[in-house]
């Protein structure tokens, strides 16, 4: 299911010793018989909740008509939306199981696009691109397919192809979406100032655009400003995005990273205080806590939780968290060797600025500048404008020269 790129098992030798940790969680707290029948064990969505009712009805309809792809597609859509809002991978698993009869074969266009979205979430980018290619052959005007494709290509660092997808998107989506998609690519290829300009104009023009679109645009803008070192501008746009009220896990993570870079760990911890259930945010919380003096007592528990989680993800065969694992290894466990292996494995799959950065940081910390040569070349070829990355590249070049 997942193309799996593991660092050598040696890299995890320390963590593998903690294999017991994985099972100590269930075993250490012994199972028990509650004393009281009325003791509450779990909270579940209200059965009468319209969302739950809708899902149940659709499941019933689908099991009555298992071959009906429109029903399946509709149900999968709902699960994908639930996943988007909550980050809970169970919803992805459910969407995948609903689409199981159409998973391998050729399928109708909406299902191909959903499959691609699922694969994207699972970091099977080649698989997702194949599905999108098939979808676009049948339906060249499917805006969502072009948008998803553009996003994936941007993440993979294939900016030329991404630009073409943005061009194709031009007639098929709203102003804000088209501009944001193109600006995302342009900001990473030497036109950061221009992209910021264009995004601001688009936002000014489209005050009544849906909140979701504006959040995306503001986030891209904020990140571009942060990379350029325009900290005040970046913060303004982050706060504007947060003020739009949409719960966006990516935005929370990006803002936390911004605060960490700005040397404001206390604020970052404040923002993420209640996000211990979402592991990517838990990582940033732990990073923020580790930078406070003195570190709060919850740090040890959070680190342990993350350790268990990464180990379990590895044993599951998930390779989607290598970037987070690398950050965890480098900054919290202080193991540059392992971090470098993880970052290098991550680099094979995705090439966002954050991926570049962790690879450069790990290579520098491990004293192996050559390991990051490809990333340095990538930065120079694409003219990636990022203050932190530029500093790292300078440091690595200096180290290599020694």
């Amino acid at each position: 299911m997942n193309p799996s790129l593991f660092p050598s098992s040696a890299a995890w030798s320390c963590l593998l010793l903690d294999c017991a940790l994985l099972f100590n969680a269930p075993a250490a707290a012994a199972p028990f018989v509650p004393r009281d029948d009325s003791e509450i064990l779990a909270r579940v969505p209200d059965r009468r909740d319209p969302l739950a009712v809708g899902l149940r009805e659709r499941h019933v309809a689908l099991s009555a008509n298992p071959g009906n792809w429109t029903l399946a597609s509709d149900l999968a859509q709902r699960y994908l939306q639930l996943h988007r809002a909550s980050g809970d991978p169970r919803h992805l698993g459910r969407a995948q199981s609903v689409l199981a009869p159409w998973w391998e074969a050729s399928a109708p266009v909406p299902i191909l696009v959903q499959r691609a979205t699922l694969k994207q979430s699972l970091h099977d980018f080649p698989g997702a691109l194949r599905d999108l290619h098939a979808a676009l052959q049948q339906a060249p005007d499917d805006g969502q397919a072009w948008l998803t494709k553009a996003t994936i290509l941007t993440v993979c660092g294939d900016y030329e192809q991404a630009r073409r997808c943005c061009l194709a998107l031009a007639r098929l989506a709203s102003d804000v979406v088209v501009v944001t998609a193109s600006a995302s690519v342009a900001a990473l290829t030497g036109q950061a100032e221009r992209s910021c300009e264009v995004l601001r104009q688009a936002l000014a023009r489209n005050g009544s655009a849906p909140a979701g679109e504006k959040v995306w645009a503001q986030t891209v803008l904020a990140e571009a400003c942060a990379r350029l070192g325009q900290t005040e501008e970046a913060e303004r746009h982050f706060r504007e995005a947060l003020a739009l009220g949409e719960r966006d896990l990516y935005l929370l993570g990006a803002f936390a990273d911004f605060l960490l870079d700005a040397g404001r760990p206390r604020e970052a911890a404040q923002w993420l205080r209640s996000e211990t259930g979402v592991e990517g945010l838990l990582l940033r919380l732990a990073l923020a806590e580790s930078r406070q003096t003195p570190p709060p007592e919850t740090l040890a528990r959070n680190v342990r939780r993350l350790q268990e989680w990464f180990l379990q993800a590895q044993r599951r065969g998930d390779s989607i968290h290598h970037r987070e694992q690398a950050r965890f290894a480098l900054h919290l466990l202080r193991q540059p060797g392992e971090a470098l292996q993880l970052a290098a494995a991550n680099w094979k799959v995705q090439r966002e600025p954050a991926d570049v950065r962790i690879l450069l940081e790990a290579a520098l910390a491990a004293g192996q500048p050559k390991a990051a040569a490809d990333a340095v070349h990538f930065v120079r070829t694409n003219q990636l404008q990022d203050r932190c990355i530029e500093r790292l590249v300078a440091a690595l070049t200096a180290e290599e020269a020694q």
């Binding site: 009325s38 779990a42 199981s97 979430s121 969502q144 098929l172 966002e352």
Partner: protein, 385 residues
């Protein structure tokens, strides 16, 4: 990278596109970096206690609630009382999706009690159960499929507690059938492991061994009229043995490959019964000739059926699609190596004894009778099970 959301309509678009966009449900492009909760997991620990297996299985209430409605009064809470009242349903659901031991006789599972455990990600139901499982068996065959039908990302974590330590395995929709060793080296998935599996299978495949044995027993004798006569030259004996073993090998390789690659699906019971019958025939032929001369042809024809028997074993290893060809080759090599070892062990004795009376008049008939008897017992067992 951040999500992009398409609007349902846009002025200025052509009608077809507008209509299709309006018809489609808005979809968020998921950010590639998954900031994720814990995915669905369940945890099973197995220990041996005498002739029984004891199991403790932790299943998340969230996952159980998806497949069985645990909130009887619709209050939005699952209480201990509600969970307790669903004990039978939970047990039925879970134990039906766990198989310990191979078909046709897996261990039967008996629920002992239901408890609760609080993990870091919420409350879990704990099923404690026992399974009647032969303590002598070293390899545990496990088929695990809880929640896979509703959540393809669900994983089952198995932990086998043995005197030497703990063995673990992860079960998923693509790895739902696995075998773990209670002791010694855990069967792995590399070529060496499959070669070992092949050797192990022929050495513990007593029906295959007895078949070969029955064919080879008269190997250094030649049938003339109605009697066996010793063959003079070792070369001839060797030639005969080589023909028989090669024919058997070629035939079972063929059908093993066909079955494993999914081309042919013979019924397991039919295969097992025919194998038993083949042993009887081969043995009986030594006593009263049923087919003359070409033992290698008999070896070939029945070898085809024996191949299907091996295929069952290989299929149980739960191979991932990419592994199959390599595993097949390695497994086959293992079978051949195992066979060769047996033949090489027998051959000198067969040749040296060829003109001994006890061989011709005692070992051959009595040995063949014994083989036929054992095989008849198997046949009866397999027919009427």
């Amino acid at each position: 990278m951040n999500p992009g959301k398409l609007p349902s309509t846009k002025s200025g678009l052509n009608l077809r596109v507008a209509a299709s966009l309006a018809a489609s449900i808005l979809l968020w492009v998921c950010p590639p970096v998954t900031v994720a909760h814990q995915a669905g997991n369940s945890y099973l620990t197995l220990t041996r206690a005498g002739a029984q297996l004891r199991g403790e299985w932790h299943l998340a209430l969230r996952d159980l609630h998806d497949v069985l409605d645990l909130d009887a009064d619709g209050s939005g809470d699952i209480t201990w009382g509600e969970l307790r009242s669903q004990q039978a349903a939970i047990s039925n659901y879970a134990l039906a999706r766990l198989q310990l031991g191979e078909a046709p006789r897996p261990a039967s599972l008996h629920l002992a009690e239901l408890l609760v455990d609080i993990h870091s990600d919420g409350a879990y139901a704990v099923l404690r159960f026992t399974a009647d499982h032969s303590a002598a068996e070293d390899l545990l065959h496990v088929e695990y499929s809880a929640f896979f039908e509703v959540d393809r990302l669900h994983r089952g974590w198995l932990r086998l507690e043995t005197p030497e330590g703990v063995r673990t395995a992860v079960f998923g929709p693509d790895a739902a059938v696995q075998r773990l060793a209670w002791s010694g080296k855990q069967p792995g998935h590399g070529p060496a492991a499959f070669i070992r599996e092949g050797v192990w299978h022929i050495w513990t495949g007593y029906d295959h061994i007895l078949f070969l044995l029955a064919l080879l027993l008269p190997g250094s004798l030649r049938l003339s009229a109605r009697e066996w006569e010793p063959v003079v030259s070792f070369r001839v004996v060797l030639g005969e043995v080589v023909r028989i073993v090669t024919a058997f090998t070629v035939a079972h390789s063929l059908t093993l490959s066909l079955a494993v690659l999914g081309r042919v699906h013979p019924a397991a019971r039919l295969v097992e019964c025919t194998i038993a019958a083949s042993v009887i025939l081969a043995a009986a032929n030594n006593i009263r000739p049923i087919f003359r001369g070409r033992a290698w042809l008999v070896a070939f024809v029945f070898g085809l059926v024996h191949g299907f028997g091996f295929a069952n074993a290989l299929a149980d290893l739960g191979l991932r699609p990419g592994q199959v060809a390599g595993a097949l080759l390695a497994f086959n090599l293992g079978v051949e190596a195992g066979q060769l070892a047996i033949v090489l062990a027998l051959l000198p004795a067969l040749f040296v004894w060829r003109d001994r009376a006890f061989y011709r008049n005692l070992l051959l008939p009595v040995g063949s009778c014994a083989i036929a008897l054992v095989a008849s017992f198997w046949l009866a067992e397999r027919l009427f099970d």
